[in-house]
């Protein structure tokens, strides 16, 4: 069990964003996190990686209690994350962006070896040609790949992907899904938030569904898609789920 989330509660003033979220994530699995907009998925990520410490509950990573640790400590422990709205380091080049991931992630590379790691990672996501360009000059799809590259450069044990497929066309989606599967095959555990249903259903081993900050379902893609609560909260039309899975 690489990650254990235990009864996490997160409040923002009067709003209860997460209520008693609890799940275990075995090593090497791809766990999909889905739910309607505003369900608290990104908030859960923020609670896990220390951006917003939870009001109560615990987050245990590789046996160590990381609840409420600052984000840089969590990153050093081997958790890397991408953001839903990309956050490139604008005035730095693509190479430098990825190097930051390598330098300050789990392995703490020196600048020289970080450059080598970065080269390898950029190759994987297909950004080598743009290594010397400023991050601000990339288009959205490339910036998404940069987010992914930065996270990969940290050689994390656990990768948190926040809507990494949003805004991509089907070909691009297939390419990223391929990369994700290969990352998993190398031993990285993946927790991914997604709205692109087909994609997350096809790549995930298991799914968790959040609605209004509460877990309403958990299971294989098949189980979750057929869960009436999920359908009601999310899809509205039960038949739609069948049609999606059939495709």
């Amino acid at each position: 069990m690489i990650l254990q989330v235990d009864k996490v509660i997160k409040r923002f003033g009067g709003l209860q964003a997460l209520t008693d979220v609890t799940f275990d994530l075995p090593e090497g699995q791809i766990l999909g996190l889905i739910g309607p907009n505003g369900a608290g998925k990104t908030t859960l990520f923020n609670a896990i990686n220390g951006v917003y410490p939870p009001e109560s509950g615990r987050v245990i990573f590789r046996g160590k209690d990381i609840t409420g640790l600052p984000p840089y400590e969590v990153a050093r422990s081997g958790v890397a994350r991408t953001h839903q709205v990309v956050r490139p380091l604008n005035e730095l080049t693509v190479l430098e962006n990825v190097m930051v991931g390598a330098c300050f992630g789990r392995e703490g590379h020196s600048r020289a070896s970080a450059a080598r790691v970065a080269d390898g990672v950029m190759e994987r996501v297909g950004l080598t040609a743009r290594a010397g360009q400023l991050a601000s000059s990339l288009n959205v799809a490339q910036k998404k790949r940069l987010e992914l590259a930065r996270a990969l450069a940290a050689h994390p044990y656990l990768l948190l992907l926040d809507e990494v497929l949003a805004g991509l066309n089907p070909t691009e989606i297939e390419a990223i899904l391929d990369t994700i599967r290969r990352i998993r095959d190398e031993g990285v555990t993946i927790l991914m938030i997604e709205h692109v249903m087909q994609a997350v259903m096809s790549v995930s081993d298991r799914l968790i569904v959040l609605d209004y900050g509460m877990q309403i379902a958990e299971g294989t893609p098949q189980e979750v898609a057929n869960d009436p609560q999920v359908i009601e909260a999310y899809l509205g039309d039960p038949k739609l789920a069948e049609r999606l899975l059939a495709e």
């Binding site: 840089y72 730095l92 930051v100 330098c103």
Partner: protein, 322 residues
């Protein structure tokens, strides 16, 4: 560090070395006086750049490190007869210590709030010094002319101080280059671009900011001591001239925020412009207004400064214009 192989490093380093060394070679006093001011501002701007350019934190009170560190160093020379070299170093350490303490309080503040806090520092520092007996209160301190005998007479003392300043300036430039190209510098620039995202990637922002602040404070403390030693006295009005803080900002922005060469060019360029304006009867009183206009135009139209603009316009020059 393969700094020694980079053309960019040599360009900046040699610029300062040759520019500064010229006076030493020719033994020309007028040149020395002129270049002393230039070197001072080159060093001050370059040290400011570490916080402003690399870390992205606007420090309106940079002059405080010059003033307080200089006061401390001068105090040791004037009241306790310390030699210049050690006193200057202690002055630098005092500034660094102040930065460490101050930083612990105000570096938690982000962006604009931090800038506001630094504005108040200057006033607070001056008020403190005015009230602080050992530092001579409102009248400050002075050195007896005879003290210069220990350095081979007043003339020789001026040359020694100049040489020391040149060495310090070169040290600042080297430090600036090394920071920029180090893992530490990469972290700083990550903080500058997006502090939260940088932290998520593992950059220990609070520590890095503190270290950057301390480094940027150290050199001004040494320089302050040298400056006051050369003048023979120090008073609260001299040590905390807000104008100097402002002008340093303009120099960094003008030359190129976040580059090694930028503050050097900006300092020299601005100082020459200021000198020209001051001697011209028409502009004499307006040099502050012109500085303001220059800053506004830079911020509105060329925020990356001269070097920054050149780098974006001519990517091939990036190796050289660091």
């Amino acid at each position: 560090m393969n700094a020694w192989r980079q053309p960019g490093f040599w360009l900046t380093f040699l610029l300062v070395l040759v520019g500064g060394g010229a006076a030493l070679v020719t033994r020309d006093s007028t040149l020395r006086e002129l270049v002393f001011t230039l070197l001072m501002f080159v060093a001050l701007s370059s040290s400011l750049n570490i916080m402003l350019g690399y870390t992205g934190y606007v420090n309106f009170g940079h002059i405080v490190f010059f003033g307080l560190g200089g006061y401390a160093g001068f105090y040791l020379i004037s009241q306790h007869g310390w030699p210049l070299y050690t006193a200057a170093l202690v002055g630098g350490c005092v500034s660094a210590l102040i930065a460490a303490l101050l930083g612990a309080a105000i570096l938690r503040l982000r962006g604009a709030y931090f800038a506001l806090a630094t504005i108040g520092i200057n006033e607070a520092a001056r008020a403190f010094v005015i009230n602080f007996g050992p530092f001579g209160g409102p009248t400050g301190m002075f050195i007896n002319f005879s003290a210069y005998q220990a350095y081979g007479g007043a003339m020789q003392a001026l040359w020694t101080t100049y040489t020391l300043l040149l060495v310090v300036t070169l040290a600042v430039v080297v430090t600036s280059y090394m920071v920029k190209h180090s893992r530490f510098g990469l972290g700083l620039m990550g903080i500058r671009e997006d502090e939260d995202a940088a932290m998520v990637m593992g950059v220990k922002a609070p520590n890095f900011k503190n270290i950057a602040y301390i480094i940027s404070a150290f050199f001004p403390g040494i320089i302050g001591t040298l400056f006051f030693f050369k003048n023979g006295n120090v008073e609260p009005g001299d040590a905390f001239r807000l104008h100097m803080s402002i002008e340093m900002l303009v120099m960094v922005m003008l030359g190129g925020n976040g580059t090694v060469l930028g503050p050097v060019l900006g300092a020299v360029g601005y100082e020459r412009l200021r000198g020209f304006l001051l001697t011209s009867p028409l502009f004499k009183n307006l040099h502050l207004a012109f500085a303001g206009l220059a800053l506004l135009l830079i911020v509105l139209f060329v925020p990356a400064g001269v070097v920054g603009w050149l780098r974006s316009r001519f990517p091939a020059l990036r190796k050289v214009l660091v």
